[in-house]
Structure formats: structure tokens, C-alpha cells
């Protein structure tokens, strides 16, 4: 009796979380999928089935393609930039510098801010008539021009800059932890063999950091795919819709334009994108691990 109870208790304790998780994650995914094949406009409408028409409409829209292109640019540069910058910062901080604690805190601080704050602050910094450009003009360098934020073909790079500023410190912290975990004797052995410092980093330390790199990429790439608040605060998708990303597209279509069906279709495409990137990566990394050891 007590044995069966003992084995039952953990299941009972986990059950509510499981049910909630199932209903609110997978249940809503299915609901969204259902909405995307209906003609829902202002309110959900389950009577009128339209098949893949919403998807057809979606891929016929110029704005959706702009959003996809922006997502590509943003993800690649944001993840890559934060990774490289974070790694460089971590390696430099790992050289036993003075006041490391203070420096580490300074670099990590942006992570404590929400994307809304980052977006608003950078909106002011990058605004040509009150930010960097004005500062340079006031200092006497009147030929200085930095108006990326207000040009439709460069505005997306401003989102990248703000994103990297926010997340590089986070990547740095992860890499630093990884670096600290490396056994000193390996490096000493390599030095004894006469390997140069860059070579040690490239051939020994970076490969050891691979699992850290994996988790960093995973965290950053899902942040980039669901980036919504940063874009909303920094550019609100503008100028025009030049910095629209799938998440802002979905929001505008579902909630302000009364096209819930179309919004649901775009949300499904976002889910598919995440799955297409993350699932194979997870699979290969998690499977490869035992062989490495």
C-alpha cells in the first residue's frame, strides 16, 4: 500500500504541471493551427473552412517576405555578433585582469534590462536629431552622418546593434564560465609542446567550449525568432514596414487588422521555422555527445 503510494506521489505532483503544459502549449498550438485554415477575420470563425488559402495569401504578401528577410538578417547577425563579441570579451576577461568583477558586472548589466528599455534607449541614441549624430554635430564635426535608423534599407541593422548590445554580455558570462571550467593542466601541457597562444585557443579551448556554444546559440536563436518587443520599442516596424519581423507581422494582422486567420497562418510558419532550425540541431548535438566522451 505504502509502496504504491510512494510511486504514485511523484506522478501526482507532476501531473498538474503536465496537464497545464499540455493544454497551454500544445493545445494552443493546435488551436492556432485550426484557426489558420479558417476564414476567421475579426473574431474566430470555425464554420468556414478555407484550406490553405490563408497560407497562399500570406506568401503572396510583400510585407511577409520583408518580415522573413529581416528575420534572416537579424538572426544571423544577432546570434553571430553576440557570440563573437561575447567570446572575445570572455577571453580578454579571462587573462586575470584587474577589477574583473566590476568589468564583468558592467558587461552583464544590459541583460538585466528588458528589450523594451534597450529599444527605447537605442531609439534615442540612434535618432539623428537627438542622438550620436547630434552629439557629433554639437562637438563640431558637422559632416558626421549616422542616420541608419531612419533609412528603410539600414534600419534593421540598428535592431541588430541594439540586440547585440543587450545579449553580448550574456554570451560572455556563459563563455567565461566555460573557460573557468577548463583544466589548467591541458593548457600547460600544450604550452610545453610549444603551441602558440592563438593556436591553443583555436585548437584546444574552442573545441572544449562546444557545449557552451551550443547552449548559447540555442538561447540566442530562439530569442531572435520571437523578437517582438525590441522591434516594437525601437522602430515599431518602421520606416514603413521596413523592419517588420514575423512576430510583429502576426500581431498586426491578428489584433489590429482583423485578419485572425492570416495571423494564425503566419504564427504557424514561425513555429515551423523554429522547429526546422532547433529540432535537427538539438538532435545532432544531443546524439553526438556520448561519442565525444
Amino acid at each position: 500500500m505504502s509502496r504504491s503510494l510512494e510511486s504514485l506521489v511523484p506522478k501526482l505532483v507532476v501531473a498538474p504541471a503536465f496537464v497545464l503544459g499540455f493544454a497551454f502549449i500544445y493545445g494552443l498550438m493546435v488551436w492556432n493551427g485550426v484557426l489558420s485554415v479558417t476564414a476567421s477575420r475579426m473574431l474566430p470563425n470555425y464554420e468556414e473552412f478555407v484550406g490553405l488559402e490563408q497560407y497562399q495569401k500570406l506568401f503572396g504578401m510583400d510585407r511577409w517576405w520583408v518580415a522573413l528577410k529581416n528575420l534572416g538578417i537579424f538572426s544571423a547577425l544577432y546570434v553571430g555578433g553576440a557570440l563573437v563579441l561575447g567570446l572575445i570579451l570572455a577571453i580578454f576577461l579571462d587573462q586575470k585582469v584587474r577589477a574583473e568583477g566590476v568589468l564583468r558586472t558592467i558587461y552583464l548589466y544590459p541583460m538585466a534590462l528588458s528589450f523594451i528599455v534597450t529599444g527605447t534607449a537605442w531609439k534615442w541614441i540612434l535618432n539623428p536629431s537627438m542622438g550620436i549624430e547630434k552629439l557629433m554635430h554639437d562637438l563640431g564635426w558637422t559632416g558626421f552622418q549616422f542616420d541608419w535608423l531612419v533609412q528603410s534599407d539600414t534600419a534593421i541593422y540598428c535592431v541588430v546593434i541594439a540586440g547585440i548590445w543587450q545579449s553580448a554580455g550574456f554570451a560572455m558570462a556563459l563563455f567565461l564560465a566555460g573557460l573557468r571550467g577548463i583544466d589548467d593542466s591541458i593548457i600547460k601541457a600544450a604550452q610545453m609542446d610549444g603551441a602558440s597562444l592563438p593556436r591553443i585557443y583555436w585548437r584546444i579551448i574552442l573545441p572544449i567550449l562546444r557545449p557552451v556554444m551550443f547552449s548559447t546559440i540555442l538561447v540566442l536563436s530562439h530569442l531572435s525568432i520571437k523578437s517582438f518587443d525590441l522591434v516594437m520599442a525601437l522602430t515599431a516596424g518602421g520606416p514603413g514596414y521596413a523592419t517588420d519581423v514575423p512576430a510583429t507581422f502576426m500581431f498586426v494582422m491578428s489584433f489590429t487588422r482583423g485578419q485572425i486567420g492570416l495571423g494564425a497562418a503566419s504564427a504557424t510558419m514561425m513555429l515551423a521555422t523554429v522547429a526546422a532550425i532547433v529540432v535537427p540541431y538539438l538532435y545532432s548535438e544531443l546524439r553526438a555527445k556520448p561519442h565525444d566522451r
Binding site: F24, L28, W31, N32, R41, M42, L43, P44, D62, R63, K123, N127, P128, S129, M130, D147, L149, V150, S152, D153, T235, A236, G238, P239, G240, Y241, A242, F251, V252, F255, T256, R257, G258, Q259
Partner: protein, 416 residues
């Protein structure tokens, strides 16, 4: 994430809604800023004087988008408020869902048909019956000017034609001031665009192209000329415009740093709040070439079907009060707009409002009264959003040629 918050909103509303009292009128609105909140308080006072209980349901932000989202969840859960601030074709969409109440009995008793211009009444009717009641009229095709900035640049008066406008703008630019205080968000891009179309093509053309979305008009020579004029304006806009809020652009005119702004008459509220006097410190005129036309933006309350008899009675009284002369006057004095009711005394209003009222009555007679597309008065949200995108894209990207811009707009207009 969004879905979860929406669901919790539904739950919260279901719980809150169980405590309904007879004679109670619950009003969903997004008038939360200074002058607007004061106006709502007046309405509350009038309803309480009639013995009803006012339940305020204010949802701030997003130009009504947030309110609309909350409203959807309330209606889906079968617990709508008595009245909600809804305007334009959105009224028709709600009515076609079968959730709006028929107001014909109040409308007949109060003779609304004789008090409202037909174009305005049509917006408020679904299949010939009133389902919403109008509060005010905003004119959108205004050009605001700073008297000091114009004087400094040597511009004698507000421009009446586009040629005059560009001559004046050149002078202002030369004087080192911002000629046009623009706000680069798609609603304001379109506000300027529709004033240009109205000024270049006239009310008939505006109606064909932007309201009826006639493909022939959208690809005509007049449209081409409108887009060219629209793009010419951009040279007179300062580089900080993209993303700027409309009231910050108005502030530039108030501070005499900028000379002109294309904006609806809610801008007047900002001028007056800053202690400026119409006609002396700031000037109002119809946008160039559009003196005999009027783009209207009418705020209104749609009334929802209710089960409770006491609440229905309160709802009817609310509709009658909103259209009554007393409320129309008090509310619009606070808000900067004009009464939607024809033949009202305008003695207490300022010169800009008097001009607006005079033009409202006159253009209604000759067919120059047209709904504003930028402010959701004319076409369905899907097509409206798509054309706004196309126009904003044309405005912000100089590499798009006029011909391509015109093609994009025509394509967007076909969105269903």
C-alpha cells in the same frame, strides 16, 4: 504568450461581469488623456442625473487597438458592455456578427435623420437601422501653421494651393526652419497622403480612388500627380521624423521650430493646452487645394444587445444623451472637435472650430464631405492596412518610383 494573456483577460472579464445591476450602463472607451477624460466625466454626470449607474471601462493605449482586443474577448464570452467606442466600417463588421442592438426607436424619437448628414448617418447604420451613435466630428484635412515661424521666413499667409505651399516651404527652409513637421508612422503618412489626394484630385476623385478603391482612378494621371506632390513634400521634412509621435511634431510647431503640420484638429488641443491662441499664435487652414472638401473622422459608440431590461433602458438614455445638444457642446469644447449635430449654436467655439463647422455643413450639401481613410472611416481594416503599408513604403523609400508606388497601392487596394 499573447494568447495566454488574452485568455486571462477573458477569464477576468467573466468573473467581473457576474455582478450586473439593473439600470447600469457599462461603457468601453479609450478616452484617457486630459481633455478626453474630462469629457467622459461630463457624460457620466449626465447619465447619473438620469438615475443610472455608470460603470467606466477605460482601456488606454494603442489608438483603440487595446480596447478592441478587450472588447473581442468580452463579446466572445457572451458578456458585452452596453456601449463601446467603435467607428467606421468596424461598426458594420460588428453588426454583421449579430451582436449590436437596434437603436431605431431612439433615433426616430430624436429625429436623428434630420440632424445628421447622410454620409455620416450611413456609417452608423447597418441594413438601414441605427446601431451606433456619433459623438463628434474631426476634420482631418487641416494644415496648421506657426505664425512666428511664417513671419520669420517672410510668408504672408497660409498657402491655398500646392504651388503656393512649395514656394512658402522653400522660404521656410531657407530661413533655417523645418518646413513640415511630419510624423513618420503609417497612420500619419496616410493622413498627409489623403490630404494631398484631396487637394490635387478633389473630393470626387478622392471618393473614387480611396473610398470606392476604383482601380481606374488608382492608376490614373491624377493619382500619379498626387504621388509626385506627396513625394515633393518629403524634401521639407526633418530627418528625425520617422517614428515620431504626432504630438511631438505638433510641439515643433508650437515652439516655432517648424512652420507647418498636416494633422487633424485634435492637434488644436495641443496648441491650446500650450497656451497658444488660434488666429494669433497659430493658424489653421484647409490643406492646400482642399478648401471645399472635408475629410471627416467621426467617433461613435456602438451599442450591444443586452438581456437585462433595466440595462436596455439605460442604454437608450445613453444614446439620446450623447446626441443631445448639451453633451455635444460640452464634449466637443473639451476635445477640440465640433458637434456632429447640424444646426447647433457655435458661439462658444473658437475660430478654427467655426470654420470647421461651416465647411462641414456646406460640403455636406455639395458632396465634398468624404470619410477619412487614414482614420478608419472608409474601408475595411484589411484593405486599409494594406494601402497604408504601400503608401508608407513609398514615402520612406525614395528608390520606389512613382509608377511602382502607384502599382503597389492599386494592388494593396484589391486586398480582401
Amino acid at each position: 504568450m499573447l494568447k495566454i494573456s488574452k485568455l486571462t483577460a477573458v477569464l477576468a472579464c467573466v468573473l467581473a461581469g457576474t455582478a450586473a445591476v439593473a439600470g447600469q450602463v457599462e461603457v468601453l472607451h479609450y478616452w484617457t488623456s486630459g481633455g478626453e477624460a474630462k469629457s467622459v466625466a461630463e457624460l457620466k454626470k449626465m447619465m447619473e442625473a438620469k438615475g443610472h449607474v455608470w460603470k467606466d471601462f477605460a482601456v488606454a493605449g494603442g489608438g483603440g487597438d487595446n480596447a478592441a482586443t478587450v472588447l473581442k474577448s468580452r463579446v466572445v464570452s457572451g458578456n458585452p458592455p452596453a456601449a463601446a467606442q467603435i467607428k467606421g466600417p468596424a461598426i458594420q463588421e460588428w453588426a454583421s456578427e449579430g451582436v449590436l442592438a437596434n437603436l431605431d426607436s431612439v433615433g426616430k424619437a430624436e429625429k436623428w435623420d434630420s440632424l445628421l448628414p447622410k454620409v455620416v448617418a450611413d456609417v452608423l447604420k447597418y441594413k438601414g437601422s441605427y446601431v451606433a451613435v456619433p459623438v463628434n466630428v474631426h476634420r482631418v484635412n487641416w494644415l496648421w501653421g506657426s505664425a512666428a515661424a511664417l513671419k520669420k521666413a517672410g510668408v504672408a499667409s497660409m498657402p491655398k494651393t500646392w504651388d503656393e505651399f512649395f514656394v512658402a516651404a522653400d522660404k521656410i527652409k531657407k530661413a533655417g526652419l523645418i518646413a513640415v513637421a511630419h510624423s513618420g508612422q503609417n497612420i500619419w503618412d496616410f493622413t498627409t497622403f489623403e490630404s494631398v489626394v484631396l487637394g490635387v484630385g478633389g473630393a470626387r476623385f478622392y471618393d473614387d480612388a480611396l473610398v470606392k478603391l476604383d482601380q481606374k482612378a488608382l492608376t490614373s494621371e491624377t493619382m500619379k500627380k498626387s504621388l509626385e506632390t506627396f513625394r515633393r513634400i518629403k524634401a521639407y521634412v526633418d530627418p528625425a521624423a520617422p517614428g515620431r509621435d504626432w504630438n511631438l511634431s505638433t510641439a515643433l510647431v508650437i515652439q516655432d521650430k517648424a512652420a507647418f503640420q498636416f494633422m487633424g484638429d485634435w492637434a488644436k488641443g495641443e496648441f491650446v493646452a500650450a497656451g497658444k491662441v488660434p488666429g494669433k499664435d497659430f493658424l489653421c487652414a484647409a490643406a492646400p487645394g482642399s478648401a471645399n472638401a472635408y475629410t471627416f473622422n467621426v467617433d461613435s459608440f456602438a451599442m450591444f444587445k443586452l438581456k437585462d431590461a433595466g440595462a436596455q433602458k439605460a442604454q437608450g438614455d445613453l444614446a439620446a444623451t450623447i446626441m443631445g445638444t448639451e453633451f455635444q457642446q460640452v464634449f466637443n469644447l473639451n476635445k477640440g472637435s465640433i458637434p456632429v449635430r447640424l444646426n447647433m449654436s457655435m458661439d462658444k467655439f473658437d475660430d478654427c472650430a467655426k470654420l470647421s463647422s461651416k465647411d462641414f455643413v456646406e460640403t455636406a450639401k455639395v458632396g465634398g464631405l468624404v470619410p477619412s481613410v487614414a482614420h478608419g472611416m472608409a474601408i475595411k481594416p484589411a484593405a486599409e492596412g494594406a494601402i497604408k503599408d504601400a503608401v508608407s513604403q513609398f514615402w520612406s523609400d525614395d528608390k520606389i518610383s512613382v509608377a511602382d508606388g502607384m502599382k503597389n497601392i492599386a494592388k494593396a487596394a484589391a486586398t480582401k
